[in-house]
Symmetry: D3
Subunit: 286 residues, 6 copies
């Protein structure tokens, strides 16, 4: 599957910002016909994501680079695992190296952190991303979340209805806001409402909201809310979720926990590129 | 100062991926002539960066938005501080909110983490970024590092010479690699070499490298290397630097410590946007 | 509200394809400081849409053009109505004229045709667009449909689930296809299924599809299907809908009729630009 | 022949607006290694146009799609005719389907309507397009007009001289306007003038205009004008031309009839994509 | 008048390639609130062109820059003449300086060289450009040629018909080639043919070519050709035209001399930017 | 090696400005399946540069074009030398011809002029480019300079420090300016200062500037300055360098002479494309 047009634009921005001045170090020291083989290697345990754009980074620099993916996206691998083999002119390998790694490290970082949250949820509640993605990386990071075992929330501001406090304040109440949104929204959209209190929850249920997001509820109120909503609406929990808190609340019966940190604060996965000469007989990885 | 063309392209990518489907929630609930005032507020201590692109996000959505910056970039502020005031049509505030915050949270995250490293260095050694930046964010994140009190390494692959093990391997030795690079490089470039051993260090010094990066040296060898290079070349330390390690080695006499994590693993700063109606008499922030 | 980034890109493509060779006719005959006033006038009854991009076409050619919108989008006007007044350098008016009109004529054409379908539906069923939009015009044409009183279907391929015959064929049946989609889809998405027979309808209802699209059902089966689905799923009718057929079936109780022709076959609305000299005392329009 | 750069940009806009949120329906129901064969089939009689961009839509989504064109552009085919065979991963076929069809349906619609006008003209007068094209589709729609047997008018505003009433008004008369334009225009350009009256026609002929466009002339005046211009200038007729009117006036001796509706109001041709499994033994089309 | 979209894209490419790494020299030495006034000054006699893009370069870097044009485009000025005054933040002046000058120096170079050819032609023959323009600069350089007093040839490959030897060779002769082209070309296009011999000239005249380009004719044949074509076709002379040769042949009666060197080999005009502090009382220019 | 993203964008701009109106001449006279072979031939002695983008121009127009490079970049060839062979559909050869030649003629022009300066320098001093490049051509022209045997100065405004008179004026003196720049600049950057007098030179040497550019020094002062700087700083000479002047001063001991004319005033190299039919048995070039 090819990159989406905007993903290619992002890759172009990235190559341009790193390469427009050339690579004099390599031109000074490595012959233009020197061929190499490189392995991208996990330096710590990680869940792979970003294989497509990793490959395109090399192809964009030199169409003669060949990238072989050695591990499936979504797979958890141990430190030392070879993720990709790349063959091509050594100059091209060195030019694309940093950009390719910057993408795959970030995206695998997202997948790896998502996996930790998914593990904490023990299969009892969906772990879901938010719109707090790296600007320009929406589609890539949503895929990384899926590779980590998580689920996606709405793709864009406009692909679902999510009524927040500001909308409620401007509409004379939850009931009206839900009614107005239902009247206008595509029939394919569910209606989600964020509520602050149990009283608001009751209004939202009465107005037949499809999904209700609890904002800063106490533990007791959260549990009450989940019980009240059962069978009537999906319940989504949100707001500063740590791994510990997810583990704690996963079993309470909510349908979804959405976690901004999956995409805005995932540390990069540690991956490095080792370059050998072409035809090199690679030693076994322990 | 305007955004650079590639920064505008990145902003456009970000707006497009979030807004191309419109915002039916807001259109359903908020009148098109409803005016609002919003404050971007630090929810935890942070160093601000990204003010320019934060402002442009709102202007790009609606030219009638007015953004006032309340805090200088590079300034450390406490939780609760108001960073920006934004006035404009409430619909526009809600459309731009997420993209604007995604940028400023990420960039302030970089500045904030940099400040922590700079503090750990106690002014005894430069803290410096790397090319491990978020793809497409090179210029923005380099500025964020400066706002955090750090320094920039080379902007691009080609704006300086940095000879690594692969280059050395392909050139019959450090001495030749340095000579070849000096022969080709612009006279404005310094020559930096990465070395693995004290023996390589000696060769690099003899070949008059301007900067020497020590890779995985033991503490003892690091200290020996710094002594040997004194007055002959700058010494840069690199590789998996934690705050604790920087605090430990800052006083050993190296010139630069470069830290990839500044840009590849900084958690987002916590900033939220509170929207009020226009003309609203904002309460004092405690 | 500003244009979306992709709408600006489309406008740029349009200006570029018409203007890159300049306008020698105008340069030969009209002085560079000649100011003019132009009125965009409906030559037949129409529903206006496309005001924003009409204005931007003039601003993009010359920032000194001033465009005043005289009629609200979504309003039905009679032949002879002035829609916009544009003031600016006459050369600029003539350069932007064709592109600006090409946009507003097409988009008003969509809004006008939509209005006819909405009138035929007599408020008894939603008239809804499809993804059969002019390539590059998705957001503009969806707005035009709303201006005509219609509703939008999903914005993109991925913003809702719509299971068609190909998906069913590849999944061992409707029941499995619905189950698989529900397992993967964002919790904000409703699940829609296209069915060919009443038997498939029953399976879809049993699998709790949220929306069911009837494909080529006979009139009798359509009416049966609507009765069976009542209270269990929304019913969408689709396929070669004419104004006459919509009028006939509007009252049968379906929830949505989707009409590809709204966007793929709407004739352009007839609008022309009359240019006067600046300061011209415009005669009253009868 | 490859797409022009701006055609690729338009295709990218179109793919992006439909695909940026992915295709969860297909991912949920169809395996990533499932291969398919699809046929694009005319559902009513049409003249084919848009083959190149139809093919590129599939290639852009997945480089492994193979598109075979079964009918030449410009050929009139009956309902039921297979136009293209597309082989590739079924997921890719489903992702590109809508965008590819949206292009080829629109462009074949233009070619088909043009053919009707050309038939009405019985070879006695050129049928010609205008600049009233879909914004961004200029080169594609001009080719479609040629595929339908029509001719192109000037490509851009600046690639020929066409003096209209506004130019005349600003230049102290037709004679001066023609003289000024001839003085400035490239020597490769013919000079065309739009006239309202027989008196203006005489002035234009005297000033040696190469082409004269008659605007809203009565039938009698049109015939007089054609006689007077014979051998001195080409005559172009324009303005709200229906098929019936073209049939009526085709034999009067004008050189060109230009028809805006060819591009601004052509209904989409009806084409659908039928997807089979790979290796499928397609049944004969009756 | 605004820049065309493709001119803005070119300006963006230019700013990006010079500025993406920032301007540390200026940031280190000049305060961000330091205001300056700059004058662009001709260092040798020149004809000005490129004013619009010169101004936009400053505006693109900082919207607060104000550019006042002191000399009309197309005007010949002496060394020492002030061409523009630019006021704005000194940092912005220094950032945009090089890009703005690179444009205006190149375009004024084209205008200045054109003026020399026009002067050599003494008003007896049109001096005309070719398609040998700097890639990306077509519209800008065509304007520069007009500013120098020259004329434009066709804007694009497709905006006129120019039959060359390759076309003739592939068409069984000049007569057929002209007939085929006339049959297909827009009625707004003149037909130009390049001929190698007087015999070909005669065929071209017989086939009623509108314009004939003489390729490598001897002086005697050129004069014969001009006589034969008089009143029947325009004659264009082309091929390695020097100022001396133009002066020699200008009076022979040809209609057009086209000169590739106008755009492919014009030396840059010498223009420099002198920056003063804001409020500076500029000394009189002698 | 592929083109950089911005080089592809420039190529797209160039193809678009020449080809958006098609090529009716060729379509009228040459069959779509006609295959041709073309040779790009040097019409005068030149140093080749621009091979990559020359090839991409043909590939962009038609992926079936095959380009074989017959001469290495940087090689000086005599008039008559074949530089490239291009095979492909004749229509494609004719469409891409002008754009491909416009690039390779300009870039070979730069390489050829550079070679002349390098020859004049007799290996005693580096000949170096400046930032006075054609806007959008920075990376291409820098490569052309290297192909001519020259060296590159800083790639961008921000990739080195170059302190000029304006910076000095705003910083209370050379000493402070150098100190401020060193404090801020990346440790990989050398510090260059432009000086007007020997007194400034002394200050710059004292402040340990790495490189000193002499601006408008008399011959005597130039020689003095070179002696004083020996072993302390590199000396760069700049400003209106002719071939004669370079030959004169090359032996004085400066390190670098930078020449803006290399890129802003190089006349295009003379290269033409000769097209034969495919399978054609090309005659030997004398």
């Amino acid at each position: 599957m090819a990159l989406l047009p905007q993903e290619r634009q992002l890759l172009d921005l990235a190559l341009q910002e790193d390469l427009s001045g050339g690579d004099l170090t390599t031109e000074a020291t490595i012959a233009s016909d020197h061929m190499g083989t490189a392995f991208a290697i996990a330096k710590s345990a990680l869940v792979l994501s970003g294989a497509e754009i990793f490959s395109h980074a090399f192809h964009s620099v030199d169409a003669f680079c060949r990238v072989e993916q050695l591990v499936d996206e979504g797979q958890l691998v141990l430190a030392g695992t070879r993720l990709f083999q790349v063959d091509g002119p050594t100059r091209a390998l060195l030019r694309a190296e940093r950009t390719a790694l910057n993408f795959v490290q970030r995206l695998s970082g997202v997948a790896t952190l998502t996996r930790k949250f998914v593990d904490a949820a023990q299969g009892r509640v969906r772990i879901c991303d938010t719109r707090k993605t790296t600007p320009g990386f929406r589609s890539l990071e949503r895929a990384a979340v899926r590779h980590g075992g998580g689920y996606n929330h709405r793709d864009q501001l406009g692909s679902a209805v999510l009524i927040k406090d500001n909308h409620i304040a401007a509409s004379a109440g939850i009931t009206q806001a839900i009614a107005q949104a239902r009247k206008l929204a595509p029939h394919t959209c569910r209606i989600e409402v964020e509520v602050d209190t149990l009283a608001q929850l009751d209004l939202a249920l009465e107005a037949q909201a499809d999904i209700i997001m609890l904002d800063n509820f106490s533990d007791a109120d959260t549990q009450t809310a989940i019980l009240r909503a059962r069978g009537k609406a999906l319940i989504e929990l949100s707001g500063n979720m740590s791994l510990e808190r997810v583990a704690l609340i996963a079993s309470w019966g909510a349908d979804v926990i959405s976690v901004g940190a999956l995409t805005h604060s995932a540390p990069a996965a540690d991956i490095s590129l080792e370059i050998h000469e072409a035809g090199f007989d690679a030693p076994p990885v322990p």
